[in-house]
Amino acid sequence: MTALLEIEDLHIRYGAVTALHGVSLQIHPGEAVALLGANGAGKSTLMKAVIGLLRPHAGAIRFDGRSLATMRPEHRARAGIGYCPEGRRTFPGLLVRENLLVACWAPAPERARRLEAAYALFPALRTKAESPAWQLSGGQQQMLAIARSLMGQPRLLLLDEPSLGLSPLLTDEVIARIPAITATGTAVLLAEQNAAKALSVCARAWVLQTGRVALHGPAADLASSPEIRRAFLGG
């Protein structure tokens, strides 16, 4: 099976700081993969590089066998990569409905259908459809951000720390939607600090530690590994 997303030896620098040192990973169509690590480990950096908000210093990113090097973020999004940023970043002045519509490039009837699908996935959004996004609670904003990133029917969803700032209950609720997303054939790359929760819904996982891959493998193996604790809390 060929990989949907293939990252090879990715290096990224912010000015003088090296944020990623040679990270490689692969995601296959329709699978959920966890990207774990404490903050500052490089998870968001990797996500931003895949969608094109950061330019790699070295290394390759291929989507569907095609190099993304010269593609601008908007073209990557239209090519089938959905991005749900860290900290949600919904458009505060747009209505919930508009936040969803704005991310959809299909003709009007199809747009209406996808809007329905988004409301079906997150029913809370339907009741708030005509409210501006800034009025939503943190959990609702997170759902909106995820739903927005699904409006283009991506083949790959980059989900950057959906648990940030949410209560454990809400985190569970958001993370519990991931199997429903992969069931539609969308692969998910889930960046999380909350290792246990992420591992419970993902098939495989990569663990980053200060910009390097510390370990990777099937989620079930990692969940019971003492290594993962060391990666987060040190020796």
Binding site: V17, L164, L169, A196, K197, L233
Partner: protein, 597 residues
Amino acid sequence: MRHTPATLVNSLALAGLAAYLVWSGATQPNYPLRVLSIAGIYGLLALGYQFIFGHAGALALSQATFMGLGAYASGILALRYGLPFDVALPLSIGAPVLLAAVVAAPVLRLQTHYFALATLIISQVALLVAVEWQSLTGGANGLGGVPPIQLLGTPIRAGWPLLATVWGFVAAGTLLAWQLGRGRLGQAWACMRAAPAAAASIGIDAARLRFVAFLLSAAYAGLAGSLYVHALRVVSPDALAFPVVVTCLTIVVVGSRLRPLGALLGAVLIVQLPEWFRDLRDYSLLAYGCILLLVIVLAPAGLLGTLEDWAARLLPTPTPPTPAPEAPSPRTTPNAQRPVLEIRTLSRRFGGVQALDAVSLTVRPGEALGLIGPNGSGKTTLVNLVSGLYTPDTGTVRLHGTDITAQPTWRLARAGIARTFQTVALVDDMTALDNVALAVDAPAIGLLATLRTGASDPAQATARAQAAHLLARMGASDAAMQPAGSLAYGIRRRVEIARALAARPTLLLLDEPAAGLNETEQADLAARLRALLEDGTALLVIEHNMAFLAPLVDRMACLDAGRLIAEGLPAAVKSDPAVVEAYLGTPEPAPALQMTP
């Protein structure tokens, strides 16, 4: 620092300008000399504008108002009271300075776009007053018959004497601007512009320095206005109309925002431009706008800055030797037996999020406390509350027993709290040494202190010696004479810590000092930080990296969702079940597909 490419460019430019002026004075008839004298006056105006726009970084649109006020003061004093130019000069300079001081209080603290608007409105009112108060100002036509410049009873003739007199004032103004801009005051302004939070963290009161810059700009404008009215022999509202501001802005943008010589070159160029393009008639001013736009887009450092950049690329830059290190005397604290820092039930809410919830912590002298917690747990909020960036909703912060809750950062810095930033905040085009030296006795930097110093500044020499010592302590001696922007990340971190130490803190707040460092660098940094504790400096360290933190600190505290969930010895905190859960999440799998309505 004698023969850098930049000084070479400036010397050549100065020689060229001087030669051009002498040649013009000797060979040219009165009209071109008059234009060149006006250029000198605009040079003075622009020198002043460099203080507020270049050094303080505030887009003031009121420079013409100050010039006009100086012009009217001098003109009216001459016509009504027969006061000659030189006798009236203190008043012609004093009037705009006074106006600047009065409007500064409400205006100077505004953000860029509002500051620009406020100064624009003030200029509009000034222009209206000049046009409408006819009994005093002569209205739209102004007042004619102003006598020529008179110095010690001698009237100055048109032609080369006028040129020499005006440019004599320009030379004096340039020298003063150079003296003010080159030393510690200039560096304090640079820090305030490039890294305002860092400037406050070493005790620089940005509001005061901006005020100084504003007054200086008004003083230069007053002098320029006074010369202008006696050179033109009339005073009219043109002197305070918006085109003067545009010309002044253009001169500084085209010449240089910071270099005094750039203001002069810009003035000579821009003021003479319409004369040179005379054949184009109506299109000459069009060319003017195009040149301004081109320079903004293509040469953001201005002509002089661009020349300096070229020279720096072509010629080798000698690195001056690092000054001999000298240890600073330690700070004596009145209440050495009290805890350094006492935080009591500190809370802060942002919108719907309780970022910090009744947290209490104590740091004792010579102790290192580590603060951990997952992303968004409130660590940075805590540091920002302690260092004065935010005000708490409830709770108190005490330093050596003194309540310091909600004090501005620069005051806290003076009281003994220094900090570093998550994203290193240094002034990139200053050397590492000067970045650190600036923090030595930064509160003493000011206008009067700078005026008192001669060719070399003993305070700067001492500061650099101490900075060299601190850089050595942090293991960054090799970087001392390099521009901070060119340094590797790990070194920048060390320079930043050295700068914090230069403020002689009793408490040092470190926000993720190990981020981006490799393991060798981390171990080295930890050892150097431990050495600081022996001098009695207390540390409060925020860090995710447990391997770095655990051996460094005496105690650890863990925040989660704004609350303190564990405190104690590092080993105990690390294995505390609540901490493990906060970091790794609940061991049970998430409940599948369950939705709360």
